[in-house]
């Protein structure tokens, strides 16, 4: 499974496309919904902490059996933390990679614990040189332990650090350059950064190494007292779909194939029809990218 990106694309940089089309986050609560919508689902992602390689739910095993790519996605490795990486979490990711043979696995540029205390959430790393060194070392360690390539994701943050020395795009760009890691670009996180910190998503898209984006996340959230919460429990807001369109337009300029786009939904699950409608909107944006067609 390891190896270079699929060939045949134009452009000067190697492309990192690992999966294409439209995907959805597989959760046990919506396994039957995903089954019913399977014609509209090109790939899925699983939360690594919640699926044991030796106890794979039947509905998930059936998807894989039919050839649907299943990407393990870790949420608690703490690649941005100064504590040493939890070997059992790394082993879980590697075990899932062996079980599902995905083109890659993914995690976050974040920390989840410090001083032995769990935060229970993904927290932003100060964007300093010292922190970048820590993330680089952790990513290299993870890469060495995994049988497939790794992609890392930009998180949705509420908090920022006064010591930040770089923009998020600069930080991620350097991380990619130093480790060869791929990116999982979350466009909902770009929207979150705009609302919560005034960071322009288009400026970020211009600065990020888009040729290194392996796939994309899109998710809904909610504005509470002027702060954007990336809940994964609300419909995807139009402003987030606009960022997806802006990304897709730029990616299309590099070649015909676009990275896959995955909808994350973790709570307050909607009806099959609503879920299908969201997937259709995402697919329309991706397929109309670069054609100059204006979205309604």
């Amino acid at each position: 499974m390891r190896g270079g990106p699929p060939g045949g694309h134009g452009g000067s940089s190697p492309r990192e496309i690992a999966v294409g089309g439209v995907g959805i986050g597989w959760r046990p609560q919506i396994d039957l919904t995903i089954e019913r919508l399977s014609a509209a689902v090109d790939f899925v992602e699983i939360v690594a902490e919640n699926v044991h390689p030796g106890h794979v739910p039947a509905t998930l095993a059936a998807l894989r059996e039919r050839g649907v790519p299943v990407i393990p996605h870790g949420v608690s490795l703490s690649l941005g933390g100064t504590d040493s990486l939890d070997r059992s979490k790394l082993a879980r990711l590697a075990g899932l990679a062996a079980r599902f043979e995905p083109p890659l696995v993914s995690e976050h540029v974040a920390f989840c614990r410090a001083g032995g205390v769990e935060a229970g959430h993904l927290l932003p790393v100060p964007r300093t040189r010292a922190a970048l060194d820590v993330v680089v070392a952790n990513v290299r360690e993870a890469q060495a332990a995994l049988p497939v390539p790794l992609a890392v994701e930009n998180i949705a943050a509420l908090i920022s650090w006064p010591e930040d020395e770089m923009t998020e795009a600069q930080f991620l760009g350097e991380l990619v350059e130093r480790t060869g890691v791929s990116l999982l670009l979350d466009v909902a996180s770009l929207h979150t950064a705009r609302v919560n910190f005034g960071a322009d998503p288009v400026v970020a898209l211009e600065a990020l190494p888009l040729e290194r984006v392996a796939y994309v996340h899109v998710a809904g959230g909610v504005l509470r007292e002027g702060v954007w919460h990336d809940t994964h429990a609300h419909p995807v807001a139009p402003q987030i779909l606009d960022i997806l369109a802006a990304f897709a337009d730029r990616a299309r300029r590099r070649g015909p194939a676009l990275p896959g786009v995955l909808l994350e939904r973790d709570d307050a699950y909607p009806s099959d029809a609503e879920m299908a409608a969201e997937l259709t909107v995402i697919r329309d944006i991706v397929t109309s990218a670069g054609t100059g067609r204006v979205r309604a």
Partner: protein
């Protein structure tokens, strides 16, 4: 202090502010720390309610306040099931234990946890408790 030690201290200070009620780290917006803390509590509560829907139903509208009173300043240890067992123990010593339904659900959870611990000793292959999905 080295850059790395400095970073470790800053990260530990933020986590302490978020889950253990410590003051926000210098220079970090206190309102945002409060907002993040509240979001964490909601997320943790949702995870627990999903794991133990009967306890959540028994508490009804009291779930939110009771969970907040329990969880504030008490970091989560382990997965949602362990958190639920701790919460159940807390409830049994609180005024909520006067409600028969709550008492029954809480006792059931603590008993289930004891049995689970015992079976884990026998079955090393048992998959670890799920953690809430993260962002």
């Amino acid at each position: 202090m080295s850059g790395r030690e400095d970073l470790a201290a800053r990260q530990a200070a933020l986590v302490a502010a978020l889950v253990a009620g410590a003051p926000p780290p210098p220079g970090v917006d206190a309102d945002r720390v409060r907002a993040q803390s509240a979001a964490l509590l909601r997320k943790r509560g949702r995870g627990l309610a999903r794991t133990e829907p009967e306890l959540a139903a028994a508490l009804g509208r009291e779930f939110g306040p009771a969970f907040a009173a329990y969880a504030t300043g008490r970091p989560q240890v382990g997965g949602a099931a362990e958190d639920a067992a701790e919460f159940a123990r807390y409830l049994l010593t609180s005024e909520h234990a006067r409600d028969a339904e709550v008492r029954r659900a809480a006792r059931h959870i603590t008993l289930k946890r004891l049995l689970h611990r015992a079976s884990r000793h026998r079955d090393a292959e048992h998959p670890p408790a799920p953690v809430p999905t993260g962002r």
